[in-house]
Every structure is written in structure tokens, then in C-alpha cells.
Symmetry: C5
């Protein structure tokens, strides 16, 4: 189920700037980790209080603070005070119903988007809001859930003796975005399989549950599209922006993410088209099945109703019914009892009803 | 029912500039309240005659005049004269079929939009036109109905020792807009629930009343969309405008409202998609039900019509029917009376008709 | 029926500039009236020959010539010569299949649009092409029909001691446009009522005539849309134009008409959506009715066909049928004749078929 | 049938610049005619070899060369060499699957569009590619078919003592375009009639052939749209172009053609909407008819199946059936045989099934 | 089946710049060929190691390297190092799920698009990614499959004593693009035939397999569209680009390819419209067939059920049934047995049920 459509009114009516977490709290406790690296050194640590990030603030090394779990409003509030973030941005971080967007502020950039994760057993997509604050040599990410999304990225940071550690916070931002966007490709692969198997089911044995599946995919697709389609604009905004926080030479990487987003968006449109095709097939095949049922009924009724009538005639009790006494009457009737159905069957075969 | 589509012709043909209230009069009497505040002081009062706002006109404090009920044309006329408002604007305030829009005049701004309120018991949306006149240190709002929409905002004005009282009439305008726009989130939440429960009903027990509900939601959605979708343009116009009545630093707040409007608009589009999916399911499930009915009929008819024919044969009164005298004829027939249905039932089970 | 789609080929192939009336001649004779006014004076007269407008041509007073009926090509030709109008414009005035548009020429403006009138008894819309030539202090309107469309405007000109007589030919043009556009609001009101009553009919007692009505409204809506939707562009063109014939201060009035056009266009789109919903309901309710019919048939057949078979068994004439001689056989059968239907009825009630 | 969609691959894979006729050769032999005119003189002649146009090339008179039939590649090749036309343009002239377009070259303009002709007996549209080369004082047109399309234009050239002969090759180009575009109005008129008669047929007596007709119109409309809709862009390109080959003062004429194209395009869109409405009616009326059939079946079955059962009861051969001996049993039964159907009929009448 | 939608997630999560082949490896081994030509000379050779292209790098002759088969990552890596290509570009070459695009880098251009090949026996389209690197006097193409796509182009290069060898790498690029785009025309021709034959089948004898075919074409069309529609943007980007690698005078050729792409895109849209029409016909014809079946059933049932009832009456065993003894009863009944069906048949004929 998509939580992106529920309880969005929770905070409506509050004064702007009041920090309250809006949405389902996906984690009870928050976890904060700090990675600080330069070309030569890298250091990762888990911190308890947000105040511990202060020493990293004005160094030349790149610092990445990852906050997982948004229930503890105090943390976001502290980050805001330390990094001098506008209250409206802090509010957006906490209100997990944001539309993906890119905002350019004086000293920092704010990016918010959705992480989509697939529960593998059934086709259930879980949504998570991820906010990114980009400052000079400083990146803060806010996730709703504690999970391994950023694990491979951290590994690359640690192992890499190459590019990623040479480049600044803009490249780190790109790497984070790329990780979140590429997650969606897994989703598309699953969708692809699911649609294909549903189509096969439709053509062989459509049941009313197939319809439920189709509608389920359709609904999920609407939500996915809602979280994915603004990404195109988001990345175009980044590329168009003339902020000094993203260097010219990193643009080519963001353009690569932009291409990925285009591919994802177009695939989603293709799936929509495919799905509407499936529904048409479903409706047609239901009609077809009813047709088949009707044909069976009609064939039986057309053959036996007239015969029953004939039998009914000679079941009448009139005194003067000369045929009743004729010796060959009964065998003759049997002949017609056999030939009439045969004629009908040939006729219906010709009409392709049998 | 949407009053936004009825009686729009009432004033057609009148000369421009003739002040007449167009639309259903939602309140018999008007109520005017004035709030005047600066950083240090705040004062609220109810006034009887519109002339009483004169003393507030050229002060440095921010004044907010809220007029509820539009039946008394005299009030709007007086406001127009006192604040030097163009007759066409006054007309628009009185004609409650306006399309939401933002107009920039020499000395003031004119904003008109729709307030949407949900009657909680049933899904009935009531519409109200709200006009906002923004002058230097002076804001006038015109509402059709007397209600508590602005109560929380007034509370914040009174209690706040912070931002809202420090900032000018542009921030007040933002706060008013925000209040009206955020009202719509409640609507979306209700819609969400209603659509979900309707979908469940559809999949378990669709009746023709479900169809009426779907069509009802669809109709309401058309009206909601009509009042909401121009808001996007309205806020873009405000952000694009170079009026001096809205300061650069307040822009970030209006952009926040703009984001809310985008989210509302996209949610409405999602609901439209979901609804059209519901209709498809409805049609399919009606077909499915008919299919089931047909199968029952066909199974009964296919089994018993041939058997009846067989019974009919031996009900004939021919003199020469040797079987009739054969002792085991009757039991033999009974065997076929039992085996034929069994064969049919197996056959239909195989075809998944039973 | 819409004449805007018929016989449009009548003039195809003629040389450009050949003045021929194209379309159905709605009036046999033409009528020309002249109103000449300034702030102090106003004078209205009916003229026979178009030459009589010459004295008004170069005065400072505003002159409005209204030509009703286009059959007399000579009149249009004379107007063209007197006012020095391009032949293509004259052709457009006469060819009543024009798409609404605004053209800026060196010394004059040309506006052509459609007047829509509703025949009140049935929902039949009649279309009329109205052309407006705007020169300095001189406005000529060409209507296909003699009717009272401009009567209220003329009254306002005569009575008014205010704005309208103070302002020039641009304000008069606005007033004419406003009159024609506001006519369409009446149409929308009627449409609104018609759609609402059709929907009610659909939900209570849909007949195949309801379908005809829906299709009729749909068709009319297509034609209305075709004549209304270019108005948006037309008014945007006027507002964008830098002609000196329309003064800056009149722009606010044209923008008001523009707003009206937007509202009309959006309402038409809403009606289209509503209508497509009606069609869906119709199709669903036809299916529902068939379902109900099928259930009745199935209930009857399922109950009585097996019973008839049982009766048929004991109507057989075998010599050895021990039950026939058993005394309680007949009453026992009656018990089953009563219990079997009861069981079936309970079963069908459970399935909600009854 | 539309040849515009067949065999488009014929030339794929050939080197660019290889002159080969692609498409069905509509004429076995080519015909070339030359019209040379100035304000005072006009001369028309049929020529055999394309070399004969050389003398006309650098004169001050306007020369119009009309080539009908494209099978003889040599002709196009010669024209190319004489007038110095780019090979790609010559290829486009010969490949009759071009999308209508306007190309501006250094010394000439190239316009290619489709001529649509209606075979009057049935609704079959034949397509023909018409290419126009516009040089200074020199216009060459290439048609696939020999027909009378340009006859009226030639007549006007010969008879006219007025405008057309005074103006240059740009006005001639306009006149040619106008002729080709106005041809389409005839098509629209026929379409209009056909759709109207089909709708009437649908509402009175829909057969499966009506469906074939609807699909036929739909298909034709898709092809027509494909050849017509790029015309809008084509004419906008001409109007936007700053070529010296089209004089400023001729623009008003091209704008007139542009208006015609707009009207044609919008009409085609309206027809599409109308057609989709027709299909909906068809499907509904098929459902309605089935409903009617089902009602007849249900009425008959519901009335007679129970009665047959009753008759069956008293056809049983039990020894102890006291009613059989009761004297009034038979008449009593007859009463019920009559009253039961009467009751049913009243019931079904109430349900509006009869 | 379209491989363009499967396994797109394979590389998600990898660091950017890691060269891994993504997609199904269509060829086990790679094949590299080099063509080097100038106006006078041409030389073609197959090379084993990519290092052999080094001598051609800085010559004045045009060199075209064609790499077929992408499994050997080493080759692409070497090309990258020799020609100084950005890692992201190399990644895109290897990841065969690229969206067609044009990228302008400092010293080279990168074009990636899809080659579509039709398996002639059935309507199965195979997709192949083709990448083009354009440097000064140097073009490298990367194909997934070894086939004859470029054979005709190579022939033209060898034979031609004309244009193609005179012009530079930009013209070669054009020729390659043209070859790939024109391949799609063959596809369209096949589609055209397939749709036409399906439509014929639909109107004569629609089976549920026809539906499968329609859905199959629809699905294929979605994939084709996905690979073709970005080509429009790609070519527009090339034409808009101000790179010095493509000379002004070659633009006309690229515009020609652009026109082809437009035609292909519009044809695909037409096919979509046609297909949705086919589905409507299918659904209608299924309904029609059911209607026919129902009529047969109704006719039989309506005729024989009442007659059977009549026969049933006189099969009753009441003692007092005076008709039974009346001599003419039986013949009289026969008269009604014959006339009743005749009356019914006439009635049904009138209703056009027979």
C-alpha cells in the first residue's frame, strides 16, 4: 500500500515552521553515522548526539552525515541550527509527503526524493522519503528507514583509491542520487516479470483474481509514477542551476542520472500501455467464455427441446391416435430421434459452435 | 452538489461594473472583523459599518479586514470606494463563479480562489469563493460563509511572539493562502478513504449502488479539479510577478504553497486514474457475475433437458414398445439417470464451470 | 443541427477575392442600423443604403454600424470600398464558416466569432457568425440574423450618462464582445440542467432514448467547443497586440472577457468528462438489467426443469415400476416438489439472485 | 485504400541521391505543360522534352511548368540539372511517401504536400503527392496523376485581367496551394454526410455492416489526418520564413490558406470525436438488442416451464392419485393454466419487459 | 520478445565507470573491421587487436572502425584509452539498454540508437544497440550482432567514385544513421500487411487467437515506439548542435534522416490508432456472435416450450377429460402444432432474428 497518499492532512493548519514529523514513523529510534574522507584518509563513525558533527563542519575533507529515522524531531532541529537551514526546509524533511524537488538556497542545496523498495515475496512497494542537504564539503542525508541502501556506496568510498575520493561533495551527491535512482531498475524488472506472467495467465486461464492482480499493478504503477515522474524535472533543475556547489565537470554525471530517469519514466509509460491492453484482453476473454457457455446451452436446448416435444405428442392420451397402433411407429420415431440431433450437430459444427 | 456550475448566466448581459451578487447567497447577513497588529500590539474588533476601517488605512500597523457574507452589496461597494478598487474587481468579488486567479493592479493585488469544505457525514463538498485584496499594510478578505476557517490563523497571530507579527501584509497573505490550500488536504484524505472502501466493496460485493458512488466521486472530482487546477497558475503568477507588495524574502513561503498545490493537483490526477480503474473493474465484475449465472443455467439445462427427453420417450403410448415390458428396463434407466448427470458434472468441473 | 460543418466546400475553387455569400442565408433581407454617439449626444437611425454612413466616417463621434443579414453581397462590397477593407477580409465576412480569429490590419482590426443561441424548447443550438471591424471611432458589426442580441447594449448606450459614452471605439468593441461571450453562459446553464436530468434518468430508468439524448448532447458539445475554444486565442491575440486602436486602459476589460472565455472553456471540458461518465453508466446499467433478466430465467429454469424431469419419470409406462403401486409415493413426491424449490430459493437468496 | 502506407521501404538502403520512382506509378506516361504570363500576355503550350523550358528560365515573365506523371525519372533529372536543384530534393519529388513539408534552399523553395481526391460513388479517397518548386519568376509543379485539379486556376490565369497576372511567382504558389487545400473541403462535406447517415442507421437499424462502415471511416480518417495535419506546420514555416522569394504583401494570402488548414484540421478532430461516439452507440445498441432477445426468452420460459411441470405431475402413472378421479380437477387446472400466465404477463409488463 | 525491458537492473548499484557488459550477449566473439578511405584510395581489413587502429588515428583519410559483438569488454576499454573517451560513454556503449541519444563531448560525438530487425517468418522484432563515436576523420561503430546491415554501405564506399568518398566523417555518420533508420521502413511494411490481414480476419472469422495476435502487435508496437520515438529528439539535437565535427553543408542530409524519422514516428502513431480500432471491432463482433447464439436459443425455446406444454396437457391422466374422446381432437392439435411455429417464424423474421 502506498503511504504517500494517506494522512497528508495531518499537519494542515499548523503554522509554517513548526517541526512535527508527518507520516508513519517507520523507525522508532534514529541512527546517525558520519563519514569523513579526503583523498588520503577516510573515517566512519556512529554518533549519538548531532552536536558531534560540529568539528567536521569547516574542514577541507568531505563529510557525509547520514540520519536514519525521522521520529526524533530534535535531531533535525539541531542540524538546522548548526548548518543554518531555513525552517521551511526542515519542515519538508520531516513531512514525508513531499513531492520530489530540488531547491537552491544561498549556502546549500536541498534535494528530496523517494526511495522505492520492493518486498520480494509479493509485489508490494514500500516508499521512503530521502532528503539530501548539500553544503560546501558537507552532505547530510535523511532517510526514514534504517537499511542497506547506501552500503555499496560506503564500500566504494572505503575501497576506492580512485575517482570518488578525489572529487568533492558534488560527486558524492551524484553517487547518492545514482544509488537511489538505480534502485528503481530492480522494481522495473519485477514489474516486467509480473506483467508477463499475468498476460500468460490471462491468455490461458483468466479468473477474477487475475483482474484483482491487474488492478493491483495498475494502482501501484500510479503511485510509482507519482514518485518517479518529478525526478525528471528535479534533475533538469540541477543541470540548469548555476550554483557553485555543483562543479561544471560533475554535470556529465548528473546527466547520466538524468538519462536513467528518462529510461525509467518511459518504461513506466510502456507498462501503463501494456496494462490497459491486459484489461482489454480480460474483458474480451470473459465475453468469449460467456459465448462458449451460451453455445453449449443453445446446442443442448435446440436439440432436446424439439425431441421432447415429439415424445410429448405420443404421450398424449387421445383415444383416436392412429399412429399409436401402427407397428413401425416406435422404430420410425427412434430413427428421427437419432437423425435430428445428427443434423443439428452437423449444422452447429458448420457454424463453428462445437 | 457543486454550485460552481449553476446559474452562471445570472448576470450575463448586465453592463460591466454593475455590482450585483451572483450565486447562491450562503449567508443572510454579513459579518466584518478587523485585526490590526504590529510587532508589539494586536487588536481585534467586530465592526458594523465598513466606514470604521478608515482609521486603519494609513497606519504602519498591518490591518486585516475579514468580510463574511456577500449578500450586502453595499459593503463591497464601500470597500471599493475607500480603498480605490477597480469596479471590475468588485464585480469579481461579488460574482461567486470566478475562476481562481491573481491580478496585479497599480496599488493592490487581487487574488480569488475557492475554499473547499467537506461535510463529514457524506462525501459532499461545499464550495466557497474567497477573495483577497492585498494593499500596503492592509489585507481584506471576502468569504461567502461565516465559519472557523481563519480561527487557527487568528490564534497564531494573537499568541505568536515570533515571525508572523514581525512580517508585513505579504506574509499575512501567504498565511491566508496556506490556510485555504491546506484545507484541501483534508479533502484528499477523505477521498482516499472513500476510494479505498469503494474498491474493496467492488471486489467483494459490487451492486449498482457502487456504480452510483463511483460516478458521484467522479463528478465531485471534476468539480474539485476545476477549482484546484488554476491554483498552480495563480501561484506561479504571484512568484513571477515583480510587484513591490510582495517582498523577495517572502517568496520562499509562496513557493511552499506552490509545492502544496502541485501535490494536491497530482493527487487529484492519481484519483482520476484510480477511479477509471474502478469503473473497469465494475464492468468486468458485472460480466463475471452474468457468466456465473449463465453457467448455473447451462449446467441445469444441459443435465436435465436430455434426461427429461429420455423419460418422455417411455411416457409415449405406442402399443409396440418392447422395452416397456422388459423387467430390467426401469432399473437400467435409473442407472443412466444417475450416470449421465455424474458424467456431465465431471465434464463441467473439468471446464471449471462448477 | 450545426450548420458550421455543412457545405463548407461551396466556395472551394473560386478565385480569392470573389465576394459570394457562403453558408445558409439566414435572412432574406438585410437591415442596417447606425448609432452615432459622443459624451453628450446619441443618435440612432435605420439606413437603406450603405452610402449613408459616409458622413459619419471622419467625425470625432463614435459610430457603430450594425449590418444584419449577409445575403446582399452588395452591402459588404460597399463597406469594403468605403472603409478600404482588404478583399480577403470581406470574403471572410461573407463566408460564414470562419474559425473565430483576430486580425490586425494597417488601419483596422478584424474580429470574427460565433454567436450561439439556444432554442429554449429543445436543446438545439443555432450558430451565427458575427464579424466586427474596428476602425478609429468607427465600428461595424455584421450579423447573419436579425435579433435582439445587441438590444441591451444599445439601451445602455442610450441611458448611460457614464463610462460607456466617455470611452472610444475600443470600449464599444469590448462591450460587443462581452455581450456575445456572455450569451454562452445561458447555454452552459441549460447544458448543466440537461446533463443533470439525463443522469437522474439514467440512474432510475435508462432507455435507449437516453442514449440518443447523451449522443445528442455529445455532438452538440463538439460543435460548441469548436466555436468557443478558438476564442481564448482570439482574446490573447487582442491582449498581446500593440495596435493603437485599443488603448492600454481598455485592456483590463478585454482581460475580463478573457476570464469569461476561460471559464466557459473549462466548463465545456467538465461537461465532456461528465458525459463520458454518463455513457459508462448507461453501458453498465444495460449490463445490469440483462443480469437481472438472466437471473429470473435461471431461477425458473433451475427450479422447474429438474422437477419436470421427476414428473416425467413417473409418467413412463414401464410395466415393472414398483413405486407406482406404493400408496405413499404420490404424497412423498409432493413433499419433494415443495422442498426442492424451497431449498433452491434459499440458495438463490443467499447468492443475492432474488 | 491508402497507398501512403504501403511499400515505403522500397528504396530503403539505396544510396542517397539515386533517382528512382518510389510508390505506385499512377500514370504510365508523363505530360508536361508550360504557362508563361505577364500582365499583358499569356501563353500555354504542351512540351515533349523538358529542355524546351530553357528559354523561359531567365525572362521577366512568370513561368509555370506542370509535370504530370512521375514514372519518367529522366524528366525530373533534367529539371534538376536545368534549375540546379539538390539531389535530395529530386529524390523527395520521386519518392511519393513524403510527409508534407516546406524547405528553404538558397535559390528556391520546395513544397511537397498531398492532394486528396474523393471517388464519389463510394467513400474511397485517392492520394496523390504534389511537389512545388518555387524559383524567381518560375514555378514547377509535379503531380502523380493527370487530372483537372489545376484547370480552374488556369482559367483564372487566362481570363483574369486583374490581380493574379499582376503578381509574381509567390502569388501563383499561393493560388496553387489554395487550390490543393480547398479540394479537402469537398472531402469534409462528404465525410459529414456519411457520418450523419451512419449515425441515423445506427439509431434505427444497426447491423454488423454498420460497424464495418464505421471502422472504414475511422481508418480513412487516420490517413487523411496523416496527410493533412503537417500542413499546419508547413504553412507556419512559410509564414515564418524570411525568404525573398515570397514577398511581404503576399503573406496575407498564405495566412488565409493557413486559416483554411486550421479549419480542416479542427473538423477532422471533430469527426474523430463523433466517430468514437458512434462506436459507443453501436456497442450499446448491440447490448440493448441482446437484452430484448433475452427478455423474450425469459418471458416464454418463465411462463411455460412451470405450467409444463404441472401438466407433467398429472401425467404420472401412480395408482393412488386421488385428484385424477375428481371430476372438476381438469377444469380447475385449466383455470390455473390461464391465470398463471396472466399474472406473469402483468408482472413482466410492470417490469417493462414487454 | 523485447530484450530492451529485461534485466535492466543488472548493473544498478555498481560504481559509475565500471565497464561491464549489461544485456544478453548476442555474440560470443567480437569482430573488428577497419575501412580507411580518401577520395582516391580505399582499404578494408579485419583486425585482431584494437591496437592496430593506432596508425589510422592521425591521418587525413577517413577511417571507419566497426566493432561487432560487445562481450569482450577489453576491446571497448582499449578504444576508450586510444581515443580518449569518457568512461561514462564507454559504459553506455556496453550497457545495451540505452535510450537513443546524442551527446556532444569536447573532441567527439556519441550517438546511440537501436537497430530493429524483423524475423521474416513470424512477426518477431529483434533489437540491437548500435553506438557511434564520431571523431575528426574517424568513426567507430559498435554493434551487438554480426550481420549484413552495413554491407550495402560498404559496397557504396568501395564502388563510388563520387560524393561519399569526397566527404568527411560527418557524411559517413549520416550514411550510417540513414542505413539504420531506413531499416525501420521494412518493419513498417510488414506491420502494415499484418494489420491489414488481421483486420480482414476480424471481419470474416474472429477467433480468440485473433485477439492474441492483436495484443502481440500492440505489445511489439509499444517496444518499437520506445526505441524509435527518441530518434526525433536525437536528430533535432544533431541539427541544433554547433559542433565543428558536423559541417554546415552536411546538415541537409541529416535533415533528410530527420524527415524519415518523422514519417516513421507518425506511421507508428497511425498503427496504434488502427489497432485500437481493431480491438473495438473484436469486442463488438464477439457481442454480435453471442447475440446470434441467443437468438437461435430463443427461437427454439419460444416455439417448442409452449407446444410441449400443450402436449403435456393431453398427456395428463384425469378421468374426466372430454377432449380425449373427441375424434377430431388429435388432428386439430396437429393443426395448431403446425400453425403456431409458422406464426412464430413469421414474427421472428419480421424482427430480423432469423
Amino acid at each position: 500500500m502506498s503511504d504517500s497518499l494517506s494522512n497528508i492532512s495531518e499537519k494542515a493548519g499548523m503554522p509554517p515552521g513548526s517541526l512535527v514529523h508527518v507520516g508513519d514513523a517507520l523507525e522508532a529510534e534514529s541512527r546517525i553515522s558520519v563519514i569523513d574522507y579526503s583523498k588520503e584518509t577516510i573515517e566512519e563513525q556512529s554518533i549519538q548526539s548531532i552536536g558531534e558533527i560540529l568539528p567536521f563542519k569547516d574542514t577541507d575533507t568531505v563529510t557525509w552525515v547520514n540520519v536514519e529515522g525521522l521520529k526524533d524531531v530534535e535531531i533535525i532541529d539541531s542540524v538546522g541550527r548548526i548548518l543554518n537551514i531555513h525552517t521551511l526546509v526542515l519542515e519538508d524533511i520531516l513531512n514525508t509527503h513531499q513531492r520530489p524537488k530540488f531547491e537552491e538556497h544561498d549556502d546549500y542545496l536541498y534535494i528530496v526524493l523517494k526511495g522505492l523498495l520492493l518486498d520480494n515475496k509479493e509485489f508490494i512497494v514500500s516508499y521512503e522519503q530521502i532528503s539530501i542537504l548539500v553544503l560546501k564539503n558537507f552532505v547530510v542525508t535523511f532517510k526514514e528507514k534504517k537499511d542497506d541502501t547506501f552500503m555499496p556506496l560506503k564500500q566504494r568510498l572505503k575501497n576506492s583509491n580512485g575517482r570518488i575520493r578525489n572529487l568533492g561533495s558534488d560527486y558524492l551527491t551524484y553517487a547518492i542520487l545514482d544509488t537511489i535512482v538505480d534502485q528503481k531498475f530492480f522494481l522495473l524488472d519485477s514489474l516486467d516479470e509480473l506483467i508477463e506472467s499475468t498476460e500468460e495467465e490471462l491468455l490461458t486461464d483468466p479468473t477474477s483474481e487475475t483482474l484483482v492482480t491487474i488492478q493491483g499493478i495498475k494502482r501501484e504503477l500510479i503511485y510509482i509514477r507519482k514518485s518517479v515522474s518529478p525526478l525528471r524535472e528535479l534533475l533538469a533543475d540541477i543541470l540548469r542551476s548555476d550554483t557553485t556547489l555543483i562543479q561544471e565537470k560533475t554535470h556529465i554525471y548528473f546527466r547520466d542520472v538524468y538519462d536513467h530517469v528518462l529510461r525509467i519514466t518511459e518504461s513506466i509509460e510502456s507498462y501503463r500501455d501494456l496494462l490497459s491492453g491486459l484489461l482489454d484482453i480480460y474483458i474480451s476473454s470473459v465475453s468469449n467464455k460467456m459465448n462458449e457457455v451460451m453455445k453449449v446451452l443453445t446446442v443442448f436446448a435446440s436439440i432436446f427441446i424439439p425431441l421432447t416435444f415429439v415424445a410429448g405428442i405420443y404421450g398424449m392420451n387421445f383415444e383416436y391416435m392412429p399412429e399409436l397402433k401402427w407397428k413401425w411407429a416406435y422404430p420410425t420415431l427412434w430413427v428421427s430421434f437419432i437423425t435430428i440431433p445428427v443434423v443439428f450437430i452437423i449444422y452447429f459444427k458448420r457454424k463453428k459452435w462445437l
